[in-house]
């Protein structure tokens, strides 16, 4: 038996496996395949203040070992989310890591406040701040590409939530220096970091000679991006170890399909792992990866999951 429990800032979780935001809807759909309370945390689809239709279709394109998606943050809005989705997750006994988004820093704060005031807030073990959204006030540049804009969002969300609710800034790999963005978020009050979000890509339909996605660009995810996730986690963990900014837990996400993949992210410095696109291929993927990771650690003779966090550094 390996002790799989882990503590992420103030969140104590029985295991480090999570769904990834936008790859698991809000719980009911996957509960037809496994008990969502068995996950370390269930990460919900990014929710904004008002209902959003998202983009038209086509919204996806399959790419080698991955896919592009262009959903456009479709969602019910925070009020319907807390009344229906969060209430359901609470009734299912799940630990919710709620992903929030906004097109202005004020919208992030409003969503966080509505979440805090909801009846089902007790199910929330943390908030993931999806800063890979276009900032309307800055000509649509995504927050996560700008350290100042990222820091402002994190600081405003931090103010809205009780101290015992950790907040995780979800970083984009589409930046020159991810450690610089990470540092800005941590200094602004982030309890941890989630990395990485999708990479921006385009696929061309060579029959119609036009972009395959209705929204032209899409986010690249899947096993194809795993080495990028491992690199980003490695760089940020190394920057923390060098004392460039306060060490905080990293939730690794990007291309995890197996327990071995999860262990790669953990060895690079992640304290928890989200399974995203692999869930489209196998609805049970998050729980399967948990079992595979535990078996792998057991086979390697570890007594606790926490022993392998960042273990590849300094070997």
């Amino acid at each position: 038996m390996v002790d799989m429990s882990v503590t992420l800032a103030e969140a104590h979780l029985p295991n480090p496996l999570m769904t990834a935001s936008g790859c698991a809807a809000n719980g009911k759909e996957l509960s037809r395949f496994f008990d969502v309370a068995g996950l370390g945390a269930f990460v919900t689809k990014s929710v904004m203040s008002a209902p959003r239709s998202g983009r038209g279709t086509p919204r996806m394109a399959e790419t080698p070992s991955g896919m592009l998606n262009s959903i456009g943050l479709q969602g019910p809005g925070i009020d319907a989310f807390v009344e229906e989705d969060l209430a359901w997750l609470k009734s299912a006994g799940a630990r919710a890591l709620v992903s929030i988004a906004g097109s202005s820093s004020g919208e992030f704060a409003d969503v966080a406040a509505a979440l805090r005031n909801s009846d089902s807030f007790g199910a929330v073990v943390g908030v993931e701040v999806n800063i890979s959204c276009p900032n309307v006030a800055n000509r649509g540049l995504v927050f996560a590409c700008d350290p100042l804009a990222s820091a402002k969002v994190v600081a405003l969300v931090r103010e809205q939530l009780p101290r015992d609710i950790p907040i995780f800034a979800k970083l984009s790999p589409d930046v020159t220096d991810i450690s610089g963005i990470a540092a800005a978020c941590v200094k602004a009050g982030a309890s941890g970091l989630t990395m990485i979000n999708t990479l921006l890509g385009i696929a061309i339909d060579t029959d119609r000679m036009r972009p395959q996605l209705g929204g032209i660009t899409g986010g690249l995810s899947g096993p194809a991006i795993r080495p990028v996730a491992v690199r980003a986690i490695w760089q940020v963990r190394a920057a923390m170890d060098q004392g460039r900014f306060r060490a905080v837990p990293i939730i690794g996400v990007g291309g995890v399909r197996t327990g071995r993949d999860a262990l790669e992210l953990v060895a690079a410095g992640a304290s928890a792992v989200q399974v995203g696109t692999a869930t489209f291929n196998d609805p049970t993927a998050p729980m399967r990866v948990l079992g595979e990771l535990e078996a792998l650690l057991e086979a390697k003779g570890y007594a606790a999951f926490t022993e392998v966090i960042g273990i590849a550094h300094g070997q």
Partner: protein
Amino acid sequence: MSAIPNAGVTQVAGELIATRRVGAYHHLTLVAPGVAELARPGQFVALAVGGSTSANLLRRCFSIHRVSPSGTYGGTVELVLAAAGPGSTWITELPLHGQVDVVGPLGRPFPLPNEPVACVLVGGGYGSAPLFWLAEHLRERGCHVEMVLGAASEDRLFGAALARRSADGVTVTTDDGSAGTQGWVSDVLPEVIRRTGAAVVYGCGPMGMLRSITEVATREGAVAQVAVEEAMACGIGVCMTCVMPVVGNDGRTRMVRSCVEGPVFRGDRVRWDAFADGYCVVPEDAVGAPPASGGH
């Protein structure tokens, strides 16, 4: 195999036990215990392709042609598909007794009428696959069932012979006139509805055809129930890629997932005006639609 009790869906390693060519298509029989017992006409299965290390991660979704819950090998599911891309080609090249991961049954089935009314079942190409099984269910309820099958050419028709056993009347159309009446299903459909006094028209096939079926049915005073073929990544309601604009009971349009709220919709609820040239746009009056660009 994984299953949560009473979830109405299962995930199972399917085994290919029979395969044969039918014109331009492949007819496959899979042993998929648990799926056959739960499935109803109009539902679909989502298959993983290429094995556990496949570079093609997205599920391929296929309408169920028929099921046999208690075969010699356990419950079987039959599918009809065309080898179009790498995923469907992989499936059609599976060796006998090869394995494929099956999730199903998925989606909402065709609603069945409470009264023994006349029904017309319209299929385009291999979109006709689920209609024969549907016809059996309808005839068991005392419905008069006619089928209209259309395709570009004779080799792309599916089930013309099968239809003669499954239905009380069959009309065939091909674009090139190589079988049946030259033309589209919508050319012959008004006459079939009028002659039979059909109350319901069921359709399965490409979007353009479903739109014209809906228009004809509505004009003739019948209800259209259409099964759409939207591209899906997961089939289980989590990826949000298969959405389309559909009018709800409250009269408002929403971008709904065709995998869980469909694939069968009332034709007159679908916002066909949003579809053009391979795209589907979000209607401006849809719930949560982005503000119209341009102007103020």
